[in-house]
């Protein structure tokens, strides 16, 4: 019944996906076109044939948005496994594997730098790290990005890519929703801009907290965005979901996104928005 019950293969599939994408050729999951990897990268991980937006890592995302010379910050936090959680595998082992696979301590990267001429703080989520799930480290790191924005009065940008709260941290992961929302409220009171960029997928507790609280909420085309996972809803209503349900365009039509912006136009859109919001 929880919003947490996402597609249950996410936790394992992230690493398989990265193995597949290490090859020279990649098949587009939307149109089956086989694409040379270098071409796909040159095209910002967007299929040149059909425009499908592939998932992107946090560091590649920051590279795309910020001018050269930015600084990665707050990378040193590591989970202490508050529940000593174990299911079929120990959470500690899952963490160690994700850390080895991604070279990150957790599913989040903060950066400070310039987007065009605007100084900004960016927090970008890493989906390939345990499904981008949010535990104490992700929560604290995003809250620190909000603190940095508050202290510097620079706009905050959060790029979401997450299956939701990290159930291996139990209630601690749930509390991160409240923590980040409080930090964002302080920004709001201070009149400092916060733009939420929602990418594929953004679900569960991440959607039900900071991802929906931007002064602007901007989606990438075709991204899955929702509260309950599609499988949970299908099991609840006992029928197939309509085509396009919980995709960016669906949320735009229902009034929950300010815009759906293709990756190639994202930076220009954000620059435009930051000019509008510039603290005067």
């Amino acid at each position: 019944m929880s919003w947490f019950r996402r597609e249950d293969n996410n936790i394992e599939s992230a690493s398989e996906k990265s193995v597949r994408t290490e090859g020279l050729w990649i098949k587009c999951e939307a149109c089956d076109q086989v694409i040379w990897r270098a071409d796909l990268e040159a095209n910002m991980m967007v299929c040149p044939k059909c425009g499908h937006h592939f998932r992107m890592g946090a560091r590649a995302r920051i590279d795309l948005l910020l001018e050269p010379g930015y600084e990665l910050v707050d990378l040193n936090l590591k989970s202490t496994d508050p529940l000593q959680f174990s299911d079929l595998k120990r959470y500690k082992d899952r963490l160690a594997k994700a850390q080895a696979d991604t070279g990150l301590n957790d599913a989040i990267v903060n950066a400070i730098g310039k987007l065009g001429e605007h100084s900004v703080v960016v927090s970008a989520m890493e989906y390939s790290f345990i499904g981008g799930s949010m535990g104490a480290v992700v929560g604290e790191t995003i809250a620190r990005a909000a603190d940095r924005a508050y202290e510097s009065r620079h706009p905050l940008l959060i790029v979401a890519a997450s299956g939701g709260a990290r159930m291996m941290e139990g209630i601690v992961s749930l509390m991160q929703l409240a923590k980040i929302s409080a930090a964002l409220t302080r920004l709001d009171e201070a009149g400092i801009p916060f733009i939420s960029v929602l990418t594929d997928p953004t679900t569960g507790g991440v959607t039900a907290s900071f991802a929906m609280l931007g002064d602007l909420n901007i989606g990438e085309p075709g991204a899955l965005i929702g509260f309950a996972g599609p499988r949970v809803i299908e099991q609840t209503i006992r029928q197939k979901l309509p085509e396009g349900f919980q995709r960016s365009e669906f949320l735009l039509n229902h009034g929950f996104l300010d815009a759906v912006v293709p990756r190639k136009e994202m930076k220009a859109y954000l620059e435009r928005a930051l000019s509008f919001m510039a603290v005067r």
Binding site: F4, R5, A136, I171, V172, L174, Q176, A182, L184, F227
Partner: protein, 248 residues
């Protein structure tokens, strides 16, 4: 709901979110707490099968969370404390809930409750399930009944994801550390409210009496604070919630 009826008097229900509809799973009312004007909010599960279906087993839709927020803003305007009572598996997962922005409704409550300028005391009376519970539990004080649980995910759902077997719910419940005592040790609730005998159901009147006493205690403490101090303490509490990490 039985706690609300036993603890408060002069209940006058407030309906609707002024946007879409009135969610039968969410109850909001002006009430008196030992004569003092307060606002109470609680999800409603229903008692008979027919009522349970009507109340969606107590799982609110977006309009339920929006009604609750509207009621809280009303309390803020007239400077009345807010009490919330939570016993739900989660927010309602459904087509309509997604179309009408379940995630946005919950997120909005998290933000607005963190800055509400009146005292907020939340009680998990049975089950506090995920973001659907948290959307009523961003508060100056969060209480949980001794036999209550508060969790990011239901044990059944956790079992079916992590063990690929929903029948492993007991293992999942243990692994999730979701009992009142566990949650208190993790610093995620402020107070555990004792229950009589084997649980509140055994002696509902006595359970309500004990809870009412605790509510008084917490409200009185909060009323000693200026609004600014209360908000600063609430912020500090939320900002330092769940700090389980090392910095190397």
């Amino acid at each position: 709901m039985s706690f609300i009826e036993k603890i408060f008097t002069d209940l006058s229900e407030i309906h609707g979110d002024r946007a879409f509809g009135d969610d039968p799973a969410m109850y909001c009312a002006m009430a008196r707490f030992d004569g003092e004007e307060v606002l109470v909010i609680g999800n409603v599960k229903g008692r008979t099968t027919k009522e349970k279906i009507f109340r969606k087993f107590g799982m609110p839709d977006p309009e339920g969370y929006r009604k609750a927020l509207r009621a809280m803003k009303l309390a803020e305007k007239f400077n009345r404390p807010v009490f919330t009572f939570i016993d739900l598996m989660g927010a309602n997962p459904g087509l309509g809930a997604e179309e009408r922005g379940q995630a946005e409704a919950i997120a909005r409550n998290l933000m607005e409750m963190s800055r509400l300028r009146v005292p907020v005391v939340a009680v998990v009376t049975g089950e506090g399930g995920s973001g659907g519970a948290l959307a009523l539990a961003v508060a100056d004080r969060v209480l949980i009944l001794e036999k209550g649980i508060y969790s990011v995910i239901s044990p059944e759902a956790c079992a079916s994801i992590m063990w690929r077997d929903a029948s492993k719910r007991i293992q999942a419940a243990v692994a999730l550390k979701a009992t009142a005592q566990d949650i208190k040790e993790l610093g995620c609730v402020d107070d555990i409210v004792p229950e009589p005998g084997e649980g509140a159901h055994e002696n509902p009147d006595e359970a309500a009496r004990i809870l009412a006493e605790r509510l008084h205690l917490h409200l009185n403490e909060l009323k000693q604070l200026s609004v600014e101090d209360m908000l600063a303490q609430r912020y500090q509490k939320l900002r330092s919630m769940g700090q389980f990490y090392t910095e190397e």
